[in-house]
Amino acid sequence: MDIPSLTIDSIRKGLLARQFSATELAGEALRFAEGENPKTGAYLHFSPERALAAAARVDERIARGEDPGRLAGVPVAVKDVIVTKGLRTTCGSKLLANYIPPYDATAIVRLEQAGGVIVGKTNCDEFAMGSSNENSAFGPVRNPVAPDRVPGGSSGGSAAAVAQGTAVVSLGSDTGGSVRQPASFCGVVGVTPTYGRVSRYGLTAFASSLDHIGPFSRSVKDSATVLGVIAGRDAADSTSATAPVPDYASLLDGNVKGLKLGLPVEYLKDLTGESGELIARGVEKLKTLGCEVREISLPATDYAIACYYIIATAEASSNLARYDGVRYTVRSGHSDTLADMYRNTRGENFGAECKRRIMLGTYVLSAGYYDAYYLKAQKVRALIARDFARAFEQVDAIVAPVSPFPAFQLGEKVDDPVAMYLSDIFTITGSLAGIPCMSLPCGKTAEGLPVGMQVLTRHFDETTMFRVADAFEKAGAV
């Protein structure tokens, strides 16, 4: 069995034709993943017992002649910020090095109900804060395409696992680009659905009003299938949407003729070099498929980075308060007072980036600063959302770059956090607007580094987003 070439469809066919059982597949996928992992460090830990139990359930369903589910037997990797009952969930942090959650995230429940087989938990930046996966307490992840380079972040492990072929699909989380940017760096598909489309119940919170769970895959169709499984209203998440969930995967007919696409002029002016050329060629390809492409303007873009790093850090400073040494986290062993216990536990165990963001967020929420920062940022956020709403009066989808540059060298940017923040510009705007956006492979640089293209659509119109991406993918290399 050639694990890296599997798709959701090919697994389903193989299972129903009795070419292999889900249990056999799970065993082989686990062996393959464990063997390959030292090359990238994509996984933090594996879950053989859970995987084999899930596979056995799929085999039982097939034996009984029942539908084995839309993700029957599919090996799935899960970012280690999504909680899994009884299975260690570290969030890439020393604080949760020994944390065993007492419950499953809703997305996990739905994934397994559909027959998905969770093979392991993937590495990520600590509490999903970072753009290179170098902020993980458990070491970096290497890009499978270029091992001396980063896989992107924060969902670097989930992107790398799919790129490496050790999982067919994976789940990541995206707050400001943490699915789309690593998808771009690793040359896979990565999807950030509409805010509220997928329940956040069980997703460790970084910035609650921006956090999304989203899938990675090697094909557009597989991401569409996974999203169809995990999306939909969840009573456990008050912010989850009631909008009906279409069967995305069945709507991919490859026909995008007459679709109106917008190109944000504000993005293109900052995009130079090979990434810019590749995006330009991608746009040309979409034209040949019959799309009408026009320039649009998103004037508030200049304020997006500042706005994002105020809102996201404010919420993070509050969300990360619970890791205090009292309950399930590690606790510093040498403290004489309560204040010392807090100070030492958090001081010794949070990484530099988390500390930086907690301090920024605490500052912007402080008495006397709230109006100038947080409140102002919320107003800017509304302007950014309005920009998109106006653009979508003219176009059906927006096409944009994902990152100003392809995967960079490990260690290249660790000492310059601001440069790291600035590189999030193209993904952050969509996050702030809460609209669906995805990254899909758009070609490779001369060096062979993947470059992703972003497709963004109206709230809850993931269908159009997937249709554009699918047609693009079907049309072949740029």
Partner: protein
């Protein structure tokens, strides 16, 4: 020596000052489950058993607002004459404490549930209206336990059963001008909220907690003085004592040339004094911001109307109505202390048709007996319909007061209707003159001396003769009929 130990001001000095008091009251809502998860709110469960990922603050867990809690909070707000906002919002109040598992409390800040209410009180015969600034919802923290466990000298223990219990915080205007007014305000509020079954308001269980903001100023001054917040007022008595202490402390301080500093003080009931807990400089910056895990709370006209329609009559309204029924103010007050008592009375009075006599029975025999047995009126073995019947029988002359007093304990013991007991024990009043003729004749024959006295003009002797007849009938004879018969026979 603390600053509070400066020379105690004289009564004359104290009388030149006017205290300004506002209260912040936390009330636990009587829901079966917590405000943001499905865990039970039951009191007294073993530590850390009524808990789940949400109220333990586990990573990824999210709050979901309990509709029943919102409805009770609305009911509470309406009972305090507040306007419920169509749009309110939850906010995070951030601070670190071991019994606060999320590192923040989910409360309401700039858009509370309800505003602009009032509570009417009467102190020393003077009616006053105390403004209620706002009512907002929030979740409670757990409890830190510092004593009574292994190694308590070195460890603190945390019980998170209470974490996530629904509360409302009721903030008053600084409208109270004496500890008596504060006492009356809290008493009235407690009664209303208990009556409406918004909360048990059981202070011992912490279902009602009170903090006070206190300042003093010279009478006639317009500006408020600097206030101190006094915490740990865990009984009505402590509230009054703490306020009295704090008022005198502040006056003494000012009189001795000092200044009141803005701070949080704790009341120590053992010493009956307040002491500094934290100064303004140490005050928390709670860094409130809108709770992103919850959608704004919208309370449309329809929902509000639903809650209003299901709202029981307010105790003040009931009180007025009872007085109109002929009850004395005091009786109306007693009978509206609890919803159960008022409802009992209303059912009984409805059956009897005699509100005043019914009130006497409820407050006298019934409440007395219940108290003796340690029972609440809600658990009364005597059903209100039955008590009403008893009063009706008396009013109709079918039962003497004396007989009724005999029957009541039997009703209490058996739960039977009075008619059933009368039937079973043959206790019906004898009013039939035919049946009484013979007894009258026997009494006359058996007491010639008294008969002689009566005929001689000492008419009061008739009472003795009536008494004899009553004795002969074991009290069942109708006194009026018997008296009338004696008069006829001897007249």
């Amino acid at each position: 020596m603390s600053s509070s130990a400066s020379v105690a001001p004289s009564a004359e000095v104290i009388s030149r000052y006017e205290p300004v008091i506002g209260l912040e009251v936390h009330v636990q809502l009587s829901t079966a489950t917590k405000i943001f998860c499905g865990c039970p709110t039951s009191f007294g469960a073993p530590p850390n058993t009524n808990v789940c990922p949400v109220c333990l603050g586990h990573p990824g867990a999210l709050p979901v607002l309990n509709r029943a809690a919102v409805e009770l909070a609305i009911l509470g707000a309406l009972s305090l004459n507040c306007q419920v906002r169509a749009h309110s919002r939850f906010a995070r109040k951030n601070y670190f404490y071991p019994d606060l598992p999320k590192g923040y409390q989910i409360s309401q800040y700039d858009e509370p549930l309800a505003e602009h209410g009032f509570v009417d009180i009467v102190v020393d015969g003077a009616a006053r209206r105390i403004g209620v600034t706002r009512v907002h919802m929030e979740d409670d923290a757990g409890k830190s336990v510092h004593d009574g466990f292994k190694d308590s000298d070195r460890y603190s223990y945390v019980d998170l059963n209470r974490s996530g219990t629904p509360l409302i915080e009721i903030v008053s205007e600084p409208d109270m001008r004496s500890s008596e007014e504060a006492y009356a305000y809290l008493t009235e509020m407690k009664q209303v909220l208990q009556f409406m079954e918004v909360s048990t308001c059981d202070m011992e269980k912490g279902h009602l907690r009170c903090d006070a903001n206190v300042s003093v100023r010279l009478k006639g001054a317009e500006k408020f003085g600097t206030k101190a917040e006094v915490k740990n007022l865990n009984s009505f008595r402590f509230l009054k004592q703490a306020l009295d202490f704090e008022i005198v402390r502040q006056i003494a301080l000012i009189e001795s040339g000092g200044r009141v500093v803005q701070e949080t003080r704790l009341y120590n009931p053992d010493l009956d004094e307040t002491f500094t807990m934290r100064s303004k400089e140490d005050a928390h910056d709670y860094r409130y911001f809108p709770e992103p895990d919850l959608v704004p709370l919208r309370i449309g006209d329809e929902w509000l109307a639903e809650v209003r329609a299901a709202m029981p009559e307010l105790p003040s309204r009931k009180r007025a109505r009872f007085v109109e029924l002929g009850l004395r103010e005091y009786d109306a007050e007693v009978l509206t202390q609890t919803r159960a008592a008022s409802e009992y009375f209303e059912v009984a009075a409805g059956v009897s048709g005699d509100a005043k006599t019914t009130a006497n029975w409820v407050m006298g025999d019934l409440m007395g007996t219940l108290k003796g047995e340690g029972k609440e009126i809600g658990d009364s073995p005597v059903r209100p319909e039955h008590l009403g019947e008893l009063v009706k029988l008396i009013a109709a002359g079918e039962l003497s007061g004396k007989l009724a007093k005999e029957i009541f304990p039997k009703m209490f013991a058996t739960g039977d209707a009075p008619t059933v007991i009368i039937e079973r024990e043959g206790l019906k009043q004898i009013s039939d003159s035919g049946a009484l003729e013979k007894i009258i004749a026997d009494v006359i024959a058996g007491n010639p001396k008294q008969v002689e006295q009566y005929k001689g003009g000492k008419t009061t002797v008739i009472n003795f003769l009536v008494g004899q007849a009553m004795k002969a009938t074991r009290g069942q004879a109708n006194v009026t009929v018997v008296t009338e018969l004696f008069k006829q026979k001897l007249g």
